[in-house]
Structure formats: structure tokens, C-alpha cells
Symmetry: C2
Subunit: 439 residues, 2 copies
């Protein structure tokens, strides 16, 4: 049997503690599967005294993760600190500079400087694995990076934020408001005290940017993503979606178009009978559409200590099974210096179906005015319905729901702006994009 693979774990939160426990408890089974044993020989965390249910025998302690990366007796540096800057960034760079393999779950770091880190890893001939950075336990990185090499992708999309999916699921199932479900998610630990990063789509955007690079071979462009969160989704939208045969999910979507690559994160109507519409609660899902394979959908836990630790463990066992420097999986699917510049498709040119909900004053000619504004912008309608169940009484507000056939984003924006000028709208119009599986 080959020498043991020595692991240093930086960050002993839920994921890090789970990982070390699993590596210790399953040492024998892992040694059988990998042909060598895997030993945790160093750890680094903030508080040394906390009881994490881990045996510290034979494990060196470092207060500073960068010092651990530079000096510890390890072959693999596992970064579970998190954050795009600071000690996560410093320690990963130190590890790569030293020629250590690196495993990280840090989507923010990769979104910010993944290409640079990939170049460092490739220059040193080491592996940089990051399965846990996107969609937790779902092996989407390995699938894109290894299984689907040679495929040309047309679109990838997914539910990549459990907090948002939990909130949207609860809103629909219990007819609760966004605020009520957010509070519940916070109480259950599914949402942070400051939930902005999740509910406004930034977390999904980080993950999407990594998948975009793997699928389309372009440089990571996390700052060029169109972002809309779920905080203005109302229970009325969810009910109207359901009546029309749709369900609302926060999707991250990357799509190849003639003018470049679209990257967008927004609330999305998906058909009620699609597989992805059934993905409930904190579960994640990622769909990959390519020319050779067709469509592949993976559904699984997107977060949580154990599920994330499972992904990190897979990255570590991959390293344990290969001989040092022998496996040449390019970090980002192709060598980092061969990635193409990201060519951004303008959101104005996005083409798709749209759901538009308008609250209007009940007066003569409103229907006709809306319809003619749509026609004036070449928007063809799949349906136009008055949504309220009972007939509105004169003087009341009415809700009108439009669903368009495939049309251009800028046409919809122009039409909605024109309708706003007409003076009969009450409040802001709601516009939600529709996304259909390839099928």
C-alpha cells in the first residue's frame, strides 16, 4: 500500500467537523477504496477549546490557516473557512504556491479569482478540487469537468440556493407571505440573520459563474450576471402561476446565444409537470443541456454539514486514488490559459416567454389598451386572463395576467413602460420570465 495521504483541514465549522469525523471513523473503508490511508494531520480553526467530537491525537493545531498551508506536514490543504478574501484566500494561495493539492468548498473565492487559482494549480501540477462549492452534495463539478468532456452545452440551469427554494415552497404549500416564510427559514437555520446574499440571488450567481465557465469554456464572470431576487414575489404570483400550470423557482441560468452567453438569476416560471418543478424545500437541482448527451438533471442536498462533507470527501478520495502529479484534470475543464474571454449577451436581447401581472383600475378599454400595447411591440400572447375568481364589481381593482409566447426582453420592457404611461395601473407591474426544460 502507498504512503498515507496527509490532510490539513482549515475551518472546523459544521462541514469541517463532519469531514474530520468521517475521515477518522471510516479510515479503514476509505483505505480499501483508495488503496492508501487518509490521515488528518493538521487542522486550523478559530477556537481551539471547542468540543467538536473529534479525536485530536496526532493532529497538529494551527491558529493561522496560512501558516498551516506553509508549514504543516500535509499533502492536501482543505479550505473550509469561506469568504472571498482574507484568510481563505491567503491560505489557498500559500498552499498552491507550496505545491499542495487544494480542496475547497468556497464558491465566493472561486467566483472572484478562480481562474488565477487554476493557473497557479496548473503551474504546480497539483489538483484544485471544489465539488462542494456548487450545489453541495450534487456532483455537478465532476460531471461537467469529467463525464461530459467533449459535449457542447446549450444551456445549464438550476435551483442552487436552498434558502430561496425553501421559502418559495412554503409560500405555495401554506399560502404564507414571503416575510413569514423568511422568518421561519431563519428560525430553522436555513436563512442567515442577514438573508440578503441568499434571497437577492448573489449566492446563486457565484455558483452559476463557476458552472458557466465549466460548460462554456469562458473565464469566470460573476460580476456580469443579471440578478433579481425573490423578495418581491407575492402569494398572488404563486397562485396565478399555479392556475396557469407553472411553479415559481429561483433559477440560475446560463445559456449560449448568438450574441454571447447569458447569465441570469431570477424568479422563474417552470411548467408544473416538469421534474424540476417537484424539487421542494432546501433541495437543489442542476440541469445540463448538451448536444451529445441531451439533458441531464441532478437533484440532491445543496447544503448541510454532511452533504457538503460528502462532496469534499469525494474530492479528497480522488486525490488519494491518483499518484502525485499524475492526473491532469484541468481545474476549470480546460487549461486556465485557454479559457476564452466571457462574451456577455445583453439581457435586453433575452428571448423567452413572460408572465406579466398587472393590477388595473376597472374601467372601460383597459383590456383593449393592454392588448394593443402588446401588439404594438410585436408580442404575441399565449393567454390574457382576469385573475380574480369572483367577477369584479365596478370601481374595484382587477388583476390581469398575461402570458406571452417567446419574445424579446426589450419588447416586454417597452410594452410594460407604455402601459404604465396609460394611467390605469395600480402599483408596479410584476414580470416573471418563463423557462421550459428542453424535453
Amino acid at each position: 500500500m502507498a504512503d498515507a495521504l496527509k490532510i490539513g483541514v482549515a475551518g472546523l465549522g459544521t462541514v469541517g467537523a463532519s469531514l474530520v469525523r468521517i475521515l477518522q471513523q471510516r479510515a479503514n473503508a476509505l483505505a480499501v477504496a483508495c488503496g492508501r490511508s487518509i490521515q488528518v494531520t493538521a487542522v486550523s480553526a478559530r477556537s481551539r477549546d471547542k468540543d467538536r467530537g473529534i479525536s485530536m491525537d496526532g493532529i497538529a493545531w494551527f491558529d493561522d490557516p496560512a501558516e498551516m498551508a506553509r508549514d504543516a506536514d500535509i499533502d492536501v490543504f482543505v479550505e473550509l473557512i469561506g469568504g472571498a478574501e482574507g484568510s481563505a484566500d491567503l491560505s489557498v494561495r500559500a498552499a498552491l504556491n507550496r505545491g499542495l493539492h487544494v480542496v475547497t468548498a468556497n464558491k465566493a473565492l472561486l467566483a472572484r479569482c478562480g481562474v488565477e487559482l487554476a493557473q497557479m494549480a496548473e503551474a504546480k501540477g497539483v489538483l484544485l478540487n471544489y465539488e462542494a462549492a456548487v450545489a453541495g452534495g450534487i456532483p455537478v463539478i465532476k460531471t461537467l469537468r469529467e463525464s461530459l468532456t467533449g459535449n457542447n452545452f446549450s444551456r445549464i440551469y438550476g435551483i442552487m440556493n436552498g434558502t430561496c427554494n425553501y421559502i418559495l415552497t412554503r409560500m405555495e404549500k401554506e399560502s404564507l407571505t414571503f416575510e413569514a416564510c423568511l422568518q421561519e427559514a431563519q428560525r430553522l437555520g436555513y436563512a442567515e440573520a442577514d438573508p440578503t446574499f441568499d434571497i437577492e440571488g448573489n449566492d446563486t450567481a457565484h455558483k452559476l459563474s463557476i458552472l458557466t465557465t465549466l460548460a462554456f469554456g469562458s473565464e469566470i464572470a460573476a460580476d456580469s450576471i443579471y440578478l433579481e431576487g425573490i423578495s418581491n414575489i407575492s402569494i398572488e404570483d404563486i397562485h396565478a402561476a399555479r392556475d396557469l400550470g407553472y411553479r415559481i423557482k429561483l433559477l440560475g441560468v446560463a445559456q449560449r446565444t448568438e450574441s454571447g452567453i447569458e447569465q441570469r438569476v431570477h424568479p422563474t416560471m417552470v411548467p408544473l409537470d416538469s421534474v424540476i418543478a417537484q424539487v421542494d424545500g432546501v433541495t437543489n437541482a442542476v440541469a445540463l443541456e448538451s448536444d451529445i448527451l441531451g439533458e441531464l438533471l441532478m437533484v440532491g442536498p445543496g447544503a448541510g454539514g454532511n452533504a457538503t462533507a460528502s462532496a469534499v470527501l469525494g474530492d479528497i478520495t480522488d486525490i488519494a486514488k491518483s499518484r502525485p502529479g499524475a492526473q491532469k484534470v484541468p481545474v476549470l475543464g480546460r487549461p486556465a490559459h485557454l479559457l476564452e474571454p466571457y462574451r456577455q449577451a445583453a439581457m435586453q436581447s433575452h428571448e423567452g416567454g413572460y408572465f406579466i401581472r398587472l393590477t388595473v383600475q376597472d374601467r372601460t378599454g383597459v383590456f383593449a389598451s393592454i392588448a394593443s400595447n402588446m401588439a404594438a411591440n410585436d408580442i404575441s400572447l399565449e393567454s390574457i386572463v382576469q385573475h380574480s375568481k369572483q367577477a369584479a364589481r365596478p370601481g374595484q381593482h382587477q388583476t390581469i395576467i398575461l402570458v406571452t409566447h417567446a419574445t424579446m426582453e426589450n419588447a416586454v420592457r417597452r410594452a410594460v413602460a407604455a402601459i404604465k404611461q396609460e394611467g390605469y395601473l395600480v402599483g408596479e407591474p410584476q414580470v416573471i420570465r418563463i423557462e421550459r426544460p428542453k424535453g
Copy 2:
């Protein structure tokens, strides 16, 4: 750049021809991703003259695949001949004996002698990859073998035969009989002229046996699988399932129990609102349940030239990215000599919910008799309903549907046998097992 990886392809049917075309057309992109070029240098098939849309420049032709395996100038032998014996078997053994890497899509061959072939590959230090053998384009082999190393599995199950899923989907959607849908499947090329192997579950069983070994670390035991096909599923069953909130799918299921490992292939009721219930038509799906990750479900194309070629291509690019002899992924998840003997759980001890459909003569006391026979066997009922929509007129037959809570298979068999003795049954009782996602 390293030397080119030389590929010999045995079998130029739909998959083989797709594969060679893709390797030729995407040569540049593949070379970038793999850090070396991949060249098809030899092929073998039955008919040399057939036009397959492939350039034969620089490709040596072999009439005999075993001869190609022994003599051709190749690094990787790709077996796409099919069949558990004969030239597929002979040529794969010849290739492994020579120390070539082998890629195969041959589930029947692996089900019959996969452990032996794994031992040969491991003795020579070569890779034996077979992603396409199970669930076509879904990367379930790689996920089990690499991503989830260290997980302990409790259950794996899936829709692994597109023919059966197509037929069941059509029966439900169009209210057609099994026979009508089978004929349609044959006309569309989704079913063979002799469909027995697909519709009676043997094909699913082959695939399941491979997944069982990867998940549970036991020797392949394809002959120890409980088998029930879909040919006696009626449209009445499908409608009754739907009314009760279920859908019928042919599942392969492997499950760890106290008495051993269950392997079973049978028509199965899955909850209508589960993700797997939405998997329609020829699409496949595989669910993996393990203690660290939780549940992972993968949905994708299970067959077809391109989807299968995509899986074969992933296997080839994995070899291209590694240095010869450098990567030590055990063929079956752990070294073949460390696989445990398969310990079969008796089907009689299977525990789960059951759907039981009885057609009975309409006479006094039948309901009571059925209920007391169930009670006598300690079977607790979730529901017992008379299924016909209109009230039955006296003298007519009635349909009675029972759904049980979790119970033992042998209790159900005893109860059904006792009910048959009562003399009021018309025709055979229908018994369908219920399977619930972990959720």
C-alpha cells in the same frame, strides 16, 4: 503535449459510429481538455462496406475484434459489440491480458463476469470503465465509484429501462393497453422485435446488479434478483394508482436489510408528487440514498446512440487525462479481491407498503372477509376502497383496492392466498409494491 491516446473501437452500430464521428469532429476541443489528442487508430465490425459517415483515413480495419485487441496499435480497447458471451467476452479478455485499458458499454458481460474482469484489469494496472453500461448517459457509475467514496448506502433504486418507462407513460397518458403501447414502442424503435428481455425486467436486473456491487461492496449477483415485469400491468392498475396518489414505474431496487441485501425488479407504486414519478417516456432515473450525502437523484437519457456515446467518451477522456498506470480507481469501487460475498435477503422478508387489487363477486360479507383475512395476517390497511366510479348493481363484479401500511411480503402472500380460498375472487389478484423516496 503528451503522446496521442490511440483508440480501437469494436462494434460500429449506432453507438460506435456516433463515438467515432464525435472523436473525429471534436478532435481539437478534446485535445485541449485532455492535454493530449485522442485518435481512433483501429476499428472492428461485421460489415466493412457500410457507409457510417466516418473517415477511415489512418484507421486499421479488423474483421475480428479479438484480433484487434491482440494486435492493433492501440492504448484503449472500446467494446461496443454487446452480449454476455462470444466476441465481446473474448476480445475484452484479450485486451486486458495485453494490458490495454478497456471501455465497455456491455452490462450483460459485466453482470456475468464483471468481478473476474475487474481482477484482470487490476492485476495489469489498467482501467476498466463502463459508464455507458448502466442508465446510458447518466453518470451513475462515476458518481458511485468516485464522488461518493466513503458513503454507506441504504438503498439505490431507479428507472433503468426506457422501453418499460415509455410503455407505462403512454398507457397512463393515452389510456391505452399494454399491448398497444408495446406495439407503438416497437414501431418507434424503442422496443425490440422480441421485447422479453426489456419488459420482463432482465435488462434492469443486469444494470441493478452492477450498481449493487458499487454501492454495497458485494460480488455481482445478477442471478439472485427477484424479477417481475410489466406485462401484466393493466390500465385499471394505472388508473387506480393515480386515484390513490401513485404512479406505476418499473424500478430496480437494491436495499440493505438486516438479513442481507435485497435486489428486486418489479412494477412499483411511487408517490405522484415525488420527483421520480415525473420521469416520463424513455428517460431513466437513478436514486442513491446514503448516510453522509442523503439522497441524490439523477435523471437523463438511458439509451440512444449519442447519449451512450457521451458516456463512453467520458470514460475515454478520463483515461486520456491520466498517465498510464497512474490512476488507481478500483473497477468496482473497491479492489475486486476485497468484494464481499453477496448475502441475499429473502424476498419473503421484504417490508413495505402494498397495493392489492381484487376483482370480487358482489355478495354480502366480501368486504368483511377481506378485512379479516388481512387482520389475521397482521396487515394494517391504509385504505380499502371499492374502485368503480358508479355504484355496482347487484350481481356485477366489483373491484376492491387495498393499500397496506408497511408489512412483510410473506404476510401479504399468505393473506392473498387465504382470500383466494374464500371463493369470491374473479381472476387473479394484482399485487404491486409501494416504494417511497426517503424525503
